[in-house]
Symmetry: C2
Subunit: 331 residues, 2 copies
């Protein structure tokens, strides 16, 4: 035993774990020895005895996206507060990346994974629940088999659409990062909920969306510029007078490209972002945007993970947070 404080392993173990049945005198002696040797228990050995690794994996598409950077920040802050370390895994939108992350659970490098990007079918992901805890953050999980934290996308997009309609806009274009426009029952899919919030509000107002002005797979500022170019090629009759961009980055691209072509924003075309990234308030025309409560989402997700890990909670929760419409100039 490396703890040559002159006492037995069990006494030392009891002191470390604050267990009873140790005299104050011995407790002192052990403490002193620990301080003197700069000793600290080895997690690896503990893990072999059944306690976990103390690591939480957080899975995001990429951390260079400001939205996810803030999410990771919030998760890391919370985990570290509860003495859990944060392992970061980027998927880059690839299924393989996500599988790699899930394998961390199987290999017991992490006790749980917070999924902020779901690439694979639930079929595949489910298999890994036997190895560790999973929490979905800013993502839905169809079968409600794992806890999830997300924003009320439907209501947020509803609010935004109502706002645009209230401003008198007639033809509203729609951009999304999704690969296709899908409509599933509410609460199953984040993209579907957003689209549903938009399109159902439109129909309630007796309007409908023009299929030619629904753009999919739109992610970056460059994508936004491209879409704006397409829009500007349309005749004035066809041209939308408002756009719900899929993110602030896309919105920023559209604003920049629009201004460069002499379009007035919001007078000619109103542009509405999503996320409320720092970028949103600092471009030429500050963005009106649907604010996602990123910090809260991350904190709740991390706390839920810790609840399951540390407190051994077996039940799953579903926490929904309100989105807020932040009104600036672009719409």
């Amino acid at each position: 035993m490396a703890k040559l404080s002159g006492l037995s392993v069990s006494t030392v173990s009891r002191v470390i774990n604050n267990k009873p049945h140790v005299s104050e005198a011995k407790r002192q002696r052990v403490q002193e020895a620990m301080d003197a040797l700069g000793y600290s228990p080895l997690q690896a050995a503990r893990q072999m005895r059944g306690s976990g690794s103390g690591n939480v994996a957080v899975v995001v598409p990429t951390i260079t996206n400001n939205f996810f950077a803030h999410l990771v920040d919030s998760i890391e802050r919370t985990c570290s507060k509860y003495a859990y370390r944060t392992l970061i895994i980027q998927t880059y939108g690839e299924r393989a990346g996500e599988e790699e992350a899930l394998n961390l659970l199987r290999m017991q490098h992490a006790d749980g994974a917070i999924l902020c990007a779901i690439e694979n079918q639930w079929e595949l992901i489910r298999k890994f629940t036997q190895y560790g805890r999973l929490v979905a953050c800013n993502e839905y999980n169809e079968d409600h088999e794992i806890s999830m934290i997300c924003g009320r996308q439907y209501e947020g997009f509803q609010k935004a659409t109502e706002y645009l309609l209230g401003k008198g806009h007639q033809r509203i274009a729609y951009c999304t990062g999704a690969k296709a426009l899908v409509l599933q029952p509410k609460g199953l899919n984040i993209d579907s909920d957003r689209y549903r919030g938009f399109i159902e509000t439109l129909s309630k107002a007796g309007k409908s969306a023009d299929p030619d002005q629904m753009f999919t797979r739109i992610h970056t500022m460059e994508d936004g510029k491209r879409v704006m170019k397409k829009i500007l090629n349309l005749s004035l009759q066809e041209r939308p007078d408002a756009v719900i961009a899929g993110s602030d980055e896309v919105a920023a691209g559209m604003v920049i490209e629009g201004l460069a072509n002499g379009i007035r924003i919001p007078e000619d075309i109103a542009i509405l972002g999503v996320d409320d990234q720092p970028l949103a308030s600092c471009i030429q025309i500050p963005l009106t945007t649907i604010r996602q409560p990123i910090a809260q989402e991350g904190e709740y997700a991390a706390k839920e993970m810790i609840r399951q890990l540390r407190d051994g909670a077996e039940d799953t929760i579903r926490k929904e947070l309100d989105l807020e419409l932040v009104i600036r100039q672009s719409a």
Copy 2:
């Protein structure tokens, strides 16, 4: 033994570690059994036998800053390529945060740490070299006791200053995130090297810097706006005709505040950023900026860490990368 493939532990171990002295037949049988059971060796047990944790800690002030997000991205990419996991630690500019990270080494949660933000004195940090490998990334280390990867700050700022002087600017203001303007011998401190590159180029041209127009502790876009306000309060005689901002964020703040006050950029005041963040090219007046080779820095730092960890390299290296002046509109 959990490996109930019907063979002995050592045979299994030999297969797992690709060691010789195993017949092809047995090797096959073990492989099959492993696949069938979805078995994978437990790192925790290996660690007890002396191999490391397989984790690399990466220490940044905050990941929400785009610069560091890209650095972490690049490091994580590289580490994962070599089967190392990336633990993220944010210091928020606090010494305590850095110590916490270094303690990961002591507790053997990580085999090494890549320091992208050095908060404490080297005196303190040195103590932790006994517990694991350290690599400084985008930071200098005074005593050259650990490997470091960084940009040639002096030359970069020299180039930028020469550029501004070449444009005929007479009074150049200077912003830095550092707590004070320090001048140390070249190669010891990143802030000092930058400042030296600026000020020495100035003197070579027979000019000097106005102490009243050297701003310290300038980090954020808000800080940039504040500095611009101060500058606009000066009389036209005193007012600088160019500014080297400490970062693109600061530069962006200055551009926005300047434009809002009717200043023409770069005609009235030229503004030069640092980093070349995505932000730089998308604000109203695209930023001329000193580009840091972030992706390369991160990759080199990670590779150096792996060289030390996996290959057991004991020597330290010092890799310096060129900074590039990206010329857009703001200067």
